[in-house]
């Protein structure tokens, strides 16, 4: 089974610029997640999708972050405008739920300068 694909692998932008990340989950996984992992910390959930719909976006900074999952498959996460504190690894994961846990992608390391 193919894994969770993410791109780009690295991104460096200046503050106030915009950036977008892409994720393709494992085929058949209805649930997709975006996590933010700041250096030295555990991942923090930004948004959870179930098929096309948002289940939880309570920790998504909606004034600058947006995410969509078209047709219940691929997803994009956008930051506009970026701040220095957005420097982190952005992890995408998909799941078929419960006991099976999550399968993660390799993440995108974002550096905002």
């Amino acid at each position: 089974e193919a894994g969770v694909a993410q791109s780009p692998r690295y991104k460096i932008i200046e503050k106030r610029q915009s950036v977008a990340f892409w994720c393709n989950p494992i085929s058949g996984h209805a649930t997709l997640y975006w996590y933010q992992q700041i250096l030295g910390q555990g991942p923090k959930l930004l948004i959870q999708f179930q098929n096309n719909g948002v289940v939880d976006d309570s920790q998504l900074p909606k004034d600058r972050f947006s995410a969509e999952r078209l047709k219940g498959v691929d997803s994009t996460l956008k930051i506009q405008p970026a701040k220095l504190e957005d420097s982190a690894v952005y992890l995408c994961a998909s799941s078929r739920g419960g006991y099976y846990g999550y399968t993660f992608g390799s993440g995108t390391r974002l550096t905002v300068v």
Binding site: T31, Y33, G40, Q41, G42, P43, K44, L45, Q48, Q50, V55, D56, V89, L91, A93, S95, G97, G98, Y99, G101, Y102, T103, F104, G105, S106, G107, R109
Partner: protein
């Protein structure tokens, strides 16, 4: 709010020896799962082992095993015969939220293997 606590920011062990990483969690649920994930420098989170709370028997996967104490809400990971490839960040995680589908992670433990 459910929380997961890893009290050891860093641990080190000699190659071939055994090391135990600690994790405590807080939940009011009676049936749930617990996970340990490994994150090497490649950044990809890899599932190491999982435990079902209703099972009294501790989970084991090759050199990895857990000591699950439900009453104490403790879920430690034991790595036997440590290998250089075991060096990584290790995260304890607990699923919560609607349908228990939102993983909450601890702060992580950085494991170093000394040759």
């Amino acid at each position: 709010a459910q929380t997961v606590t890893q009290s050891q920011p860093e641990m080190s062990v000699q190659e071939a020896e055994t090391v135990t990483l600690s994790c405590t969690y807080d939940t009011s649920e009676s049936d749930y799962y617990l996970f340990w994930y490994k994150q090497p420098p490649s950044r990809q989170m890899i599932l190491v082992i999982r435990q079902e709370a209703y099972k009294q028997q501790n989970a084991t996967e090759n050199r990895f095993s857990v000591n699950f104490q439900k009453a104490a809400k403790s879920f430690s990971l034991k790595i036997s015969d440590s290998q250089l490839g075991d060096a990584a960040m290790y995260f304890c995680a607990y699923p919560t939220g609607q349908g228990a589908q939102k993983l909450v992670f601890g702060q992580g433990t950085r494991l170093t293997i000394n040759p």
